[in-house]
């Protein structure tokens, strides 16, 4: 509030609205998009003394400052853990010419001056739940006293508010702790056979684990922040399909569904492989023609919340914005949707119910209605369980048991069991959880629950006995860490991965056939390309002429396709430091300029072919000496 004005971060509509006290609208600005003046999930607003408005742009990991009329004055911040970077800016407060920004996943508040320069920061990550004294645990919002000497910080994970006051700079109040490499198991998880995938939304990364004698070993990770192909802003949920060697990521930040392939051979020695995962394709969910699936017209923008395999080779995606569940095939094409008979409800994660579908009818799915505190079966709408404070995820095991995590009561519950509570918190014990989220079933009927508030995963066996905790060592008690069971993993399915697509035989009748060729991982498109100068030399800017055809018709250009070129060094974990530009040439080829591979070594070069809302990747590997 400032004077007679009230500014509201309209998160769902990606805009800011400013009202007068009589309720009339004074200004509205912002729209969803990557441009400097656009925003993606504004999480908080604050008036500066001069009437300008700060906006915390959550998914873009930045803070913007607009004039009262909505003109962009300043923007600062990039994703990351370093000073001046953000891991989820969620709260703002202004004092004098300074703005304090709650940097949630970095467990701190950063102070910036009017020019957006970092001035100072306070708060460090708590080592244990309930720990206070300036140690923060996922701080969310902030208020400052009028004299700027006290800060009120809310921490929903701990169900508390901390008041921080001034300290004598000569007196060391906080022990100087080394910066913790943050581990944010984001709460989304899925497993298939021995493979487990977990998201870290604010980093953003997806981690791949292989279960080995009851212990998850990290074997891969992927994720680059951004809106371009293969990049992600906020991976809300994941699903893994081992037989197809595919991982699907629901990116609520960019409103896309991303598909990745991964190498996995159960015979191989378990180990981390930086090149294990490849981006395959992306489907844009930002503009879906409603009339194709439901009565009504116009387009809707899907906001992915939960993603799970539907048990029939496809996927289900809960849509927090529309309050319904979409069905997709394995190519990520929407095939239909379930509308809860209750009307639009706020949906979270879900699961497929084993063997509850009628013959011929789609299999029944379960989904949590977060605000309604219940679990619904779809399409029937039957309430399967209710009475939860804030359910986050539901899991139907192969044995037919139903588990629900309830963040509100910090509990994992088995529906219908004599003693439904498997674990309850908040706390760090072996049967305690703090704000649990995602659920999945491991081999042998074990249940993995993401104990989000404790930065760890907890595994219970089919009798619901505690088996193991993994994740941040600081949140695992030595008393039970020693007792973690080692049980041999059941034999993993040994079916070989599906064969990748191959470039078809070309008849050489078209000029582009003379170029090098690559096929998209999904096998739909061929990319022909020719660099200038050829061969490519490290640190030398080169241009690429590229042509796209459908794989089935390599003699005919797919003129509706566009190409984005990108490149990365998977072993180094970095990409290029340039952004190439593509322009369509008269003959139908695409010219890409400004590409530069700035180091010798092993590079992957990506051709991301976009047709309509779908992007598919073809890639080549170059060894530059």
């Amino acid at each position: 509030m400032a004077g007679e004005l009230l500014a509201v971060a309209d998160s769902g509509n990606d805009r800011v609205q400013v009202f007068r006290f009589d309720g009339s609208l004074a200004a509205v600005f912002g729209s969803r998009g990557p441009a400097a003046e656009q925003m993606n999930r504004p999480s908080d607003v604050a008036f500066a003394a001069d009437g300008s408005i700060y906006v915390a742009d959550l998914f873009h990991q930045r803070v913007q400052r607009f004039s009262a009329a909505g003109e962009l004055l300043l923007g600062f911040g990039t994703p990351g853990p370093n000073p001046g970077q953000f891991g989820g800016p969620t709260g703002l407060a202004v004092h004098g010419t300074f703005v304090h920004v709650v940097d949630r996943d970095n467990s701190r508040v950063q102070i910036f001056d009017a020019a957006g320069e970092l001035v100072d920061w306070y708060g460090i990550h708590a080592l244990r739940p309930r720990e206070g004294l300036g140690k923060l645990h996922y701080p969310l919002r902030l208020a400052l006293s009028a004299d700027g000497r006290s800060a009120l910080i809310s921490e929903p994970v701990e169900d508390r508010v901390q008041v921080l006051g001034p300290v004598d700079p000569n007196e060391e109040v906080l022990p100087p702790l080394p910066a913790l490499p943050p581990s944010h198991f984001g709460g989304a998880v899925d497993a298939d056979g021995p493979v487990v995938v977990i998201t870290e939304p604010s980093i953003p990364k997806v981690l791949l684990f292989q279960m080995l004698d009851g212990e998850p070993i990290e074997i891969g990770s992927f994720g680059v922040y951004g809106s371009r192909s293969g990049q992600m802003l906020w991976p809300a949920d994941v699903a893994v399909d081992l037989a197809a060697r595919r991982i699907f990521v629901a990116d609520s930040g960019s409103r896309r569904l991303l598909s990745y392939s991964f190498r996995f051979d159960p015979q191989e020695e378990v180990g981390f492989d930086p090149e294990r995962v490849r981006f395959v394709a992306a489907a844009d969910l930002g503009e879906i023609e409603l009339g194709d699936f439901l009565s009504g017209s116009g387009t809707v923008s899907i906001e992915p919340a939960g993603l799970w395999r539907d048990g029939e080779g496809g996927l289900c995606l809960s849509d927090a914005r529309q309050g319904l569940v979409w069905r997709l095939d394995s190519r990520m094409e929407i095939s239909g949707c379930f509308v809860p008979p209750q009307g639009r409800v706020v949906l979270g994660d879900g699961c497929a119910l084993a063997a509850r579908g009628e013959a011929g009818a789609p299999r029944a799915q379960c989904v949590v209605d977060g605000l309604g505190g219940r679990v619904l079966e779809l399409p029937s709408g039957r309430v399967v369980a209710s009475g939860f404070a804030r359910p986050a995820a539901v899991l139907a095991t192969q044995a037919g048991e139903l588990y629900v995590t309830d963040g509100g009561s910090h509990s994992l519950q088995r529906i219908g069991a004599a003693r439904p509570e498997v674990a309850r918190g908040p706390g760090l014990g072996s049967r305690e959880l703090t704000k649990p989220r995602g659920l999945c079933e491991l081999q042998g009927g074990r249940v993995l629950v993401m104990d989000w508030g404790n930065h760890r995963g907890m595994i219970f066996d089919r009798e619901n006995k505690f088996v193991r905790a993994f994740g941040s060592q600081l949140f695992i008690r030595p008393t039970y860490a020693d007792k973690q069971e080692k049980t041999p993993e059941p034999a993993a399915p040994t079916a070989p991965p599906p064969a990748g697509p191959r470039v078809p035989v070309l008849d050489g009748s078209r000029p582009w056939h003379a170029g090098r060729s690559a096929i998209t991982h999904d096998g739909n498109f061929l990319v022909f390309w020719k660099p200038t100068p050829d061969p490519i030399v490290e640190r030398q800017t080169f241009a690429v002429e590229a042509w796209v055809t459908r794989a089935s018709t390599p003699n005919e250009l797919a003129r509706e396709a566009s190409i984005e070129l990108d490149a990365a060094m998977p072993e180094h974990g970095h990409g290029m430091n340039v952004v190439p530009r593509s322009t369509v040439q008269e003959g139908g080829s695409i010219r890409i300029e400004g590409t530069r591979l700035h180091m010798p070594g092993r590079w992957e070069v990506y051709f991301d072919v976009r047709v309509g809302p779908r992007t598919e990747r073809a890639q080549v590997t170059l060894e530059l000496d």
Partner: protein, 447 residues
């Protein structure tokens, strides 16, 4: 050569007795055979470590140095008169606010144009180690964070920086106007100076209520443009001078020449310039130590930015975003290659800006320094964190004291776990990169 010998021989590292012949060889121009051989190798013929075809191809890209890359953004980059003016300006204390500091204050010709201090001191103590300038013409980006994209634009920053020379562009223009000799030199290169009637005595663009900033804002846009033009010309003249700071062949260069020579007799003298330790070091450098990943090309720099996670001199956590923040600065610099003062607003230099990506992963990344003459420019890193080469090599070998890598940082640098012998070999090799000094005409202050 006397100074060079003294410095090299004084290198405080065990296992470097081999440097004796190296230095004598330089001094005696091939008189190596008469010089004492390393311990245990008395009377041995020239020993050459085997370099296979691939390694030789790599060596061919590291040497010879060749001619410096052209700088079309500076029309007088290779103009002799401009270089002479630049040399005058480089050693001109009146460019600074109080008339006490010139460029050579921190870029001392006696120290290969560096200053030997951890943090350089101009008017005040800066936050950076002054890099040497020999071979600066090869640098693709300037400053440790690369916030200047041309040598001439770089030269302008220290003149006005409050902690460096604390001068101002209008006073610089006034100096050129009033000093007859400088005026002649300037006008001989760039044509007439503009009329400065009505200009303040001192002014520079800066935020806040300081007198210099206020005076600048009181000037008309036309006057500001003219002052900027003169100022950019000053930078171009200084750059024309600095581009001539080029050393002669180093023992390494002559070794590579010898290696590729078809005549073994003629090449023996060249090959002997690198003793076996330095040769083994070279092999490590281009091989398993991985140095070449970043220290590549004839200047031994990829011209890029990497985060090797050296902690700041003050200890504790790093707070400077380095390359990440500099990308924004260079894109917004009116003196960049694409700006109105550039003499080539298209071409390679502009492409560097056009496609430049501001990525969060470049937080903390620092420009890869070239390694030619590295033995002469201790201490090392952007804040002189390491006193000598041995400390630098130890850091890369063990990564001891490195700042923890965040999720976004690249993972180029891993502990090398080198043996003491290997560290010694690498250091021997680095010492062989010391070039013959640039000609006195350019190395010494004007008479």
């Amino acid at each position: 050569m006397g100074r060079l010998r003294a410095r090299l021989s004084a290198a405080p590292v065990a296992g470097l007795a081999c440097l004796g012949p190296l230095v004598l060889g330089l001094a005696a121009r091939g008189g190596l055979r008469e010089s004492p051989a390393p311990a245990g190798r008395e009377g041995a013929a020239v020993e050459v470590v085997e370099f296979d075809e691939r390694e030789r191809a790599i060596l061919a890209r590291l040497s010879p140095l060749g001619a410096p890359p052209a700088d079309p953004t500076n029309a007088v980059a290779d103009d002799l008169a401009a270089a002479r003016l630049g040399r005058r300006l480089f050693f001109e204390k009146r460019l600074s606010g109080k008339g006490e500091i010139h460029c050579a204050h921190c870029h001392d010709p006696e120290r290969a144009f560096s200053d030997g201090k951890q943090l350089s001191e101009g008017v005040g103590k800066t936050a950076r180690n002054a890099p040497g300038l020999i071979g600066v013409a090869w640098q693709r980006w300037l400053f440790w964070d690369g916030r200047a994209d041309t040598l001439w634009a770089q030269a302008l920053h220290p003149i006005e920086h409050p902690l460096e020379m604390d001068g101002d562009r209008v006073a610089v223009a006034r100096l050129l106007e009033r000093d007859p000799e400088l005026r002649d030199l300037y006008e001989g290169v760039f044509g007439s100076l503009p009329e400065m009637d009505g200009w303040p005595e001192h002014a520079r663009p800066e935020e806040g209520e300081g007198a210099l900033g206020r005076a600048w804002r009181a000037m008309t846009p036309g006057e500001q443009e003219l002052a900027n033009r003169v100022f950019s010309n000053v930078g171009k003249a200084v750059a024309a001078y600095e581009r001539r700071l080029i050393g002669g062949p180093s023992p390494f260069d002559r070794f590579v020449r010898g290696l590729s020579s078809p005549d073994p007799k003629a090449s023996a003298g060249d090959l002997a310039l690198l003793d076996p330790s330095a040769q083994r070091g070279l092999k490590l450098f281009i091989g398993k130590a991985g140095c070449r990943q970043c220290h590549t090309g004839p200047s031994f720099s990829d011209g890029e930015f990497h985060d090797v996670q050296v902690r700041p001199l003050s200890g504790g956590e790093r707070t400077e975003s380095m390359r990440l923040g500099a990308v924004r600065k260079v894109l917004g610099d009116p003196f960049n290659a694409a700006g109105p003062y550039s003499d080539a607003r298209e071409g390679a230099a502009v492409e560097h800006l056009t496609f430049l990506a501001a990525q969060s992963e470049s937080w903390g990344a620092v420009r890869t320094p070239g390694l030619r003459n590295v033995a002469l420019t201790a201490p090392y890193m952007e804040q002189g964190q390491f006193a000598d080469l041995a400390a630098v090599l130890r850091f890369y070998s063990t990564r001891e004291g490195a700042a923890p890598a965040g999720h976004h940082q690249e993972k180029v640098v891993k502990p090398l776990n080198l043996t003491p012998e290997e560290l010694g070999d690498l250091q021997s090799f680095l010492l062989s990169l010391t070039e013959e000094p640039p000609p006195e005409e350019w190395r010494l202050p004007p008479p």
